[in-house]
């Protein structure tokens, strides 16, 4: 067959995706997936992230302790730069796989004059993925629970919460947030709950799971009662810490990441259950974030097995651990899906149809598009709608009136270079 030279206008060269690509270009395929599969779904992303290091100067200037603010600004101007006061280790931050994955840490290009770069990036990601709401968490601050200076965690928590609630959230009604609780200092957490319990765009409170606190300790009883009273959920957002002695045995980020993100939430859930916290705070809505799903049936089976043999160690429990766990909420990402039979069994045992909340983790390296849910062969349409947004609407009292533009409109505005 003789080759046909097409009209040049019908051949378009596509650019390489890199650290300065527009979010709408990076996610154009997700927009096409939205158009194909879920344009009329109500979608809530429970866990997306601020790359707060890009705006760290704005956060540091909100520190209310004059000494720490001065220290932070001094570090910001000198050796620590955007990691001022933080305990992350840049040389161990391998999330980009040696620069292979470029969207984590990227900076949004072409931000219109007068608009905030984070809000613009978030809006573009919501439109491109077909999200009605996005709930944002910090990134580098996820390790603050391991910071040796408790007063720094408190100061940064207070400053970051102010930055988020007072500066960022008012810029777009589709953005919501959890208030960061500096869990190493219970009294400071109580003050933040009192301050933000009625804040309109604050949909809950979060503890970064990467820490060594026993979450059942009595020093948190008043805090839990206050959160329970607020009616808003308490989310434990997992993370990693290569400095934790057990993880220091691992020599690859992949293995450390695979184990640590499940490890911390497993410890916290185990303590929560064996100390009868669901019975002591029965109306406190518990949400477990960014541990994927595979750990849930493991822990259910393991704890059920143990408590049946050793009930004297859990006298406050009135049901099996798995039954309490099936009443908690979980976010989906990073959703393990290399074995559909196991995933289907997992979703069944954890009652995913009512308890699972879609999360993207965007713009982090192992993010999930909503299509990870819409393409599952064993879920009903209603189950997909619940997981993608209706469960979240129920948990967080969100209005399910559509907020997002249609995918066609997004693609018409920006056809994507991908």
């Amino acid at each position: 067959m003789r080759p046909t030279q097409l009209d040049k206008a019908r051949i378009r060269e596509l650019e390489e995706i890199g650290t300065r690509s527009d979010t709408r270009d990076v996610l154009a395929r997700a927009t096409m997936q939205a158009k194909r599969d879920y344009d009329d779904y109500f979608v809530v992303d429970i866990d997306a992230h601020v790359s707060e290091d890009h705006f760290w100067g704005e956060v540091i200037e909100l520190i209310d302790n004059e000494y720490l603010r001065d220290l932070g600004q001094s570090q910001l101007r000198s050796f620590a730069g955007n990691n001022a006061l933080l305990n992350i280790v840049p040389g161990l931050s391998h999330q980009s796989v040696g620069g292979r994955i470029t969207h984590q840490g990227r900076r949004e290009p072409d931000v219109p004059q007068g608009e905030h770069p984070f809000v613009v990036a978030a809006q573009r990601s919501m439109d491109a993925m077909g999200l009605d709401y996005q709930i944002v968490f910090p990134s580098a601050m996820l390790l603050l629970g391991m910071h040796p200076q408790d007063e720094v965690e408190v100061a940064l928590a207070r400053a970051f919460n102010r930055w988020t609630v007072e500066r960022i959230l008012p810029m777009d009604e589709r953005l919501k947030a959890f208030v960061y609780l500096p869990f190493n200092t219970p009294e400071a957490c109580e003050a933040l709950v009192a301050q933000y319990a009625d804040a309109k765009d604050v949909i809950g409170f979060t503890v970064c799971s990467t820490r060594n606190n026993a979450i059942h300790a009595d020093c948190y009883a008043r805090l839990y009662a206050m959160i329970e009273e607020s009616g808003k959920p308490l989310a434990f957002h997992s993370g990693y810490h290569w400095g934790d002695p057990s993880f220091a045995q691992l020599n690859r980020f992949a293995t450390m990441h695979a184990l640590s993100f499940t490890h911390y939430n497993q410890i916290h859930v185990s303590n929560w259950l064996f100390n009868a916290m669901p019975e002591r705070f029965p109306k406190l809505k518990m949400l477990w974030v960014e541990s994927g799903l595979a750990w849930i049936p493991f822990l259910m089976q393991r704890l059920d097995h143990e408590v049946l043999m050793r009930p004297s160690e859990a006298p406050g429990m009135k049901r099996l651990p798995s039954e309490y766990m099936a009443e908690m909420w979980y976010t989906s990402q990073p959703m393990e899906r290399t074995n559909m039979e196991l995933l289907e069994a997992t979703m069944k045992v954890m009652k995913a149809e009512t308890q699972l909340l879609y999360s993207s983790d965007w713009p982090h390296w192992d993010w999930d598009a909503p299509s990870v849910i819409t393409t599952l062969p064993f879920l009903s349409d209603q189950a997909k709608r619940n997981i993608l947004g209706l469960n979240a609407a129920r948990l967080f009292n969100l209005d399910i009136k559509p907020k997002k533009p249609r995918a066609d409109a997004v693609l018409a505005t920006r056809p994507g270079r991908s």
């Binding site: 067959m1 080759p3 019908r10 051949i11 060269e13 990076v26 395929r29 470029t102 969207h103």
Partner: protein, 130 residues
């Protein structure tokens, strides 16, 4: 007409000499997205859709394959190294890596890119699109 009934057609995308200096070109051709790669005297074309999540796999970086060096006599490993003679296509969405010449994933041989037939005809690079 459904896609399945669409007859294959050949499309010239430019001269071989002009394109090979780019090493990689990714094109949208009437809505079909294809990555065309030039490595030495070899030429390959792959659909620009990652088998993992549908990401734009050809628009990521190309990198050297990572190897684990192992001393055959002792079984000891001095660590990871790079094979500069090979190139891997990295999906920018999640980092899936595929051999540029075979389209096979670096670890899981069942996970592969979908090929697009490509040839040089009278000095032009010609794709056969379904």
């Amino acid at each position: 007409m459904t896609k399945a009934n669409t007859p294959p057609r050949q499309v010239s995308i430019g001269t071989y000499e002009g394109l090979r200096t780019k090493e990689r070109v990714v094109l949208d051709i009437d809505g079909q997205s294809v990555g065309v790669y030039f490595l030495g005297d070899e030429i390959r074309a792959w659909h620009n859709t990652c088998p993992h999540s549908g990401g734009p796999v050809c628009q990521g970086k190309t990198v050297a394959r990572t190897l684990q060096a192992v001393d055959a006599a002792t079984g000891k490993s001095p660590g990871l190294t790079l094979d500069r003679s090979s190139r891997m296509i990295v999906c920018p969405w999640h980092g899936f890596e595929f051999d540029l010449l075979t389209g096979i994933h670096a670890v899981d041989t069942k996970t592969r890119l979908r090929p697009v037939p490509v040839a040089v005809v009278d000095g032009d690079v010609v794709l056969t699109l379904g």
